[in-house]
């Protein structure tokens, strides 16, 4: 087995709002191996982006621990954290707001190099490194002095990737890196991310709301619903044999490019449970077609059902018992 | 929010005045007063106490409407200021009404005919309006209507005719600001989808403007009018000076010249309190006009 690179334990992140505590992330555990891609899937507002930011300590967790290469990083001070930034980076969703409009392409890519003194103030060296990174992500040399607003979304996203790669990180949180892009460009960026992974041995936490995006690039997929993981399994296993009713509904929503295939769409009904001061019970129960009394009273735990397949559902648990 | 603001305002103004060079006792008794007499008065007035004690005493008395006595007339300051207030209120209200009466209709017309000749002329005039110091405008009006034409009185509060020039003087700048604000707000609203929808439905243009656009466009204008009231009160100081208008502003300017600190202090606080109350009313009105905003004051 490959060695573990990241482990999160009981991560909780609550935000205080005028109406009460918003449980954005409510007890999430998972582990990632070096070189793998974990797809983290869920609808908007389910807390998936919050997890990414908590791992990078861009947000402070309310509770829980994060281990990076077996080192607990949830207590690091500012200085140690800055050092750690070299190993962990993030690619953002919106290629328009994630780049400072007042800086040129080269300035954006060079900034991490300058902050971390990676290139020792020798200008030609800095320039060479910026050009190397641009080449790595497929940006033409002539764009070196361009400004972000002069470029299209795909090129802007490449700048963001180059910035993240500048520090030669081991682990990257990709927060919906393609969902703001045109479909034709999405494929290009996904391919680039895959190539970079092979070349540089990167580990990705790939956050998305789109299961079809994550299907091809993930080794494992975790499905999240209102702050909790409901199912986690290797990618093929999940697509072949999804167990949680929510995952099944998500899968049924993926369009299939064939006129012959007639599938049953699972339409979810009911109100989404409020994430503000939620009552105990399965968060999905209110929309679940199979919900039982128990689902409204107790929290189901994420448990392994074999084949590295984990699921948090009483239905599955009861089936196994019978 | 009103009470902390008033306490804050009195604190700021009181401390500014407190650190004014010059001994109040000396000012009252005159430069050549004997030493013991000055010291006795200082003791009487509590001028030897620490700042914070003096301030708290001032605040306590102020709450009872006692702002001390004028150094020059020895009359209670509050009565002085308050007796002058109706004149200032009359002038400011006249100026504001004039500004609203001119600014809103012209702003609306200008917006509905964007880029027309009328619109251009309005915009140039409005720009001139905001660029003119009102005391100079006042002098020019006096020059034209009092000196050259002899139509209107040049000063004092002697009936309606004497109100006309000061009100125009004070209201012009605000009228210009309201015109510009109404126009831009109206233009913004007209571009909204729901206006296009109304037109597409075949609603008459007049009705589109009156029924759909106007109320939404006026919401930001109301806030501006509220803020302008402060400007009016401030501007009144200069306008009252130009027209010898017997209001709080002129009282204040006279007091400045005579180093009559209690009067200056009370005038500034008084006007600030009036301004705060107006803003509070505007906030309430705002919530009433815009159902999306719930009033914080209930």
């Amino acid at each position: 087995m490959a060695e573990s690179i990241l482990k999160v334990k009981g991560i909780k992140k609550y935000f205080s709002t005028p109406k009460g505590m918003l449980h954005a992330v409510d007890g999430v555990d998972f582990e990632m191996e070096k070189g793998e891609t974990l797809g983290l899937v869920g609808e908007s507002g389910c807390g998936k982006s919050t997890i990414g930011r908590v791992i990078l300590r861009l947000l402070e967790p309310t509770e829980g621990e994060i281990y990076f290469e077996d080192k607990n990083i949830s207590q690091l001070n500012k200085k140690e954290m800055i050092k750690l930034r070299r190993d962990m980076q993030i690619i953002f969703q919106d290629p328009f707001s994630s780049l400072n409009p007042r800086l040129s392409v080269s300035e954006i890519i060079a900034e991490p190099l300058i902050i971390h003194n990676i290139v020792k103030k020798k200008n030609s060296e800095l320039e060479k490194e910026v050009l190397r990174l641009m080449d790595l992500v497929g940006l033409a040399k002539r764009l070196v002095n361009a400004y972000p607003h002069e470029l299209d979304g795909g090129r802007r996203q490449r700048i963001g990737i180059a910035r993240a790669l500048a520090l030669r990180p081991k682990f990257i949180v990709a927060d919906e890196p393609v969902s703001a892009l045109d479909v034709s460009i999405q494929a290009q960026i996904l391919n680039l991310l895959q190539d970079l992974q092979e070349e540089l041995g990167l580990t990705y936490l790939f956050i998305t709301h789109d299961l079809s995006v994550v299907k091809h690039i993930s080794d494992n997929i975790a499905v999240m619903y209102l702050g909790k993981l409901v199912e986690k399994a290797p990618a093929d296993e999940l697509f072949r044999n999804s167990l949680h009713p929510y995952t099944q509904a998500l899968l049924s929503a993926i369009p299939v490019p064939s006129i012959k295939s007639k599938r049953e769409r699972i339409i979810l009904k009911g109100e989404i449970t409020s994430p503000i001061d939620p009552k105990p019970g399965c968060r999905f129960a209110a929309r679940c077609n199979y919900a039982m009394d128990r689902c409204f009273k107790e929290d189901p735990e994420l448990t392994e059902v074999g084949n590295n397949h984990h699921v948090a559902c009483f239905l599955v648990e009861e089936k196994a018992n019978n | 929010m009103l009470i902390p603001v008033i306490i804050g305002v009195t604190f700021i103004v009181y401390s500014i005045m407190f650190f004014t060079p010059g001994d109040p006792a000396l000012i009252i008794l005159g430069e050549n007063a004997p030493e013991e007499q000055v010291e006795k008065l200082r003791e009487e007035m509590g001028l030897n106490d620490p700042f914070i004690i003096q301030y708290l005493r001032f605040l306590k008395n102020a709450l009872k409407g006692d702002f001390g006595r004028s150094y020059s007339t020895r009359k209670p300051v509050f009565n002085e200021v308050f007796s002058r207030f109706p004149a200032t209120l009359k002038l400011s209200t006249a100026g504001l009404l004039l500004a609203v009466a001119i600014g809103i209709p012209i702003g609306i017309i200008s917006a509905t005919r964007q880029y027309s000749l009328l619109d251009s002329i309005t915009m140039v005039l409005a720009l001139l309006g905001v660029s003119m110091p009102n005391f100079w405008l006042g002098l020019m009006l006096i020059l034209l209507f009092s000196v050259r034409l002899g139509l209107l009185p040049s000063g004092g509060d002697v009936g309606f005719a004497s109100l006309i020039l000061p009100a125009i003087t004070l209201g012009t700048g605000v009228a210009a600001i309201i015109t510009r604000m109404t126009r831009s707000s109206m233009l913004e609203v007209i571009r909204q989808d729901y206006i296009r929808t109304a037109r597409a439905k075949g609603v008459a243009e007049r009705r589109v403007i009156n029924k759909h656009a106007l109320k939404n466009a006026l919401i930001p204008v109301v806030t501006v009018i509220g803020l302008q009231f402060g400007y009016l009160l401030g501007g009144a100081v200069l306008t009252e000076t130009v027209f010898s208008w017997p209001g709080v502003g002129r009282l204040m300017v006279e007091a400045i010249k005579q180093k009559d600190t209690p009067v200056v202090l009370a005038s500034v606080i008084f006007m600030s309190v009036v301004f705060s109350i107006v803003n509070l009313l505007v906030d309430i009105l705002y919530a009433f006009l815009d159902p999306r905003i719930k009033s914080q004051y209930r």
Partner: protein, 301 residues
Amino acid sequence: MSSSVTTEKDTNLKSQAGKKRSQWGEVWRRLKKNHMAMIGLIIMIILILLAVFANQIADYEEVAIKQNTANRLQGPSRENWLGTDNFGRDIFARIIHGGRISLMVGVVAVGIAVLIGGTLGAIAGFYGGRVDNLIMRAMDIFLAIPSILLAIAIVTALGANLFNLMLAIGISSIPGYARIVRASVLTVKDQEFIEAARAIGASDFRIITKHIIPNALAPVIVQGTLGVATAILSTAGLSFIGLGVPKPRPEWGSMLSDGRTYLWEASHITTFPGLAIVITILALNLLGDGLRDALDPRLKQ
């Protein structure tokens, strides 16, 4: 340190390829297309040049200050373009020397207000929470005092001179800038590039100076330009009621005030200084409005 590295690198990379088109360059191009704004800019340049070279155009002591009662209250003529005042002094000379004071007070007062108000607003916006609350509540209290009244109170307390005038007008406009900068910082702060900067390990100082301030600057520039106009008006207003620079130093507001007495016999004493104020304020307003349009992101493309 780090900034010098960036600039050196810039020049280095510039030789590489592609022309550098900064956003400020684009703002300037948009501004150039706006005729009204350019008229404002040209008038301002002329006024600044007149103020800078005032002594070369008309000697301060000889022409603007020295009294010549034999020549008093003269109308405009070839010798005295704008006539003379009640002491026989040349009004044109007094206006350009007065312009020095107006412009200086305007710029310095706005400078004070932007520096203090901007810093307070930036801190409030960046750190939020209790700090924000404290600063902004204090600003609300300041805003409750009409700014000209606050300025009057401060000058009355400190005494009327040039420095106190600048200080008073500057202090009384602090809250406005604090609000604008705070609002501007709040919008910028929520953008992802701030988070990106944090993710690459940038310090708070670097984030504020390199990422937030340059992006939050536009409204401050507009407000600052319009603020100079307001400050000049306030200066004239304070001088008009006798709280300006001490006489015989020429100042537009006090010239107006002096002219009042002679409105019947020699109205030009009042007219011309007033026109000087109007032209200056008009130019600044044109320029400020033009800058607002040029900097408005909604009008881009």
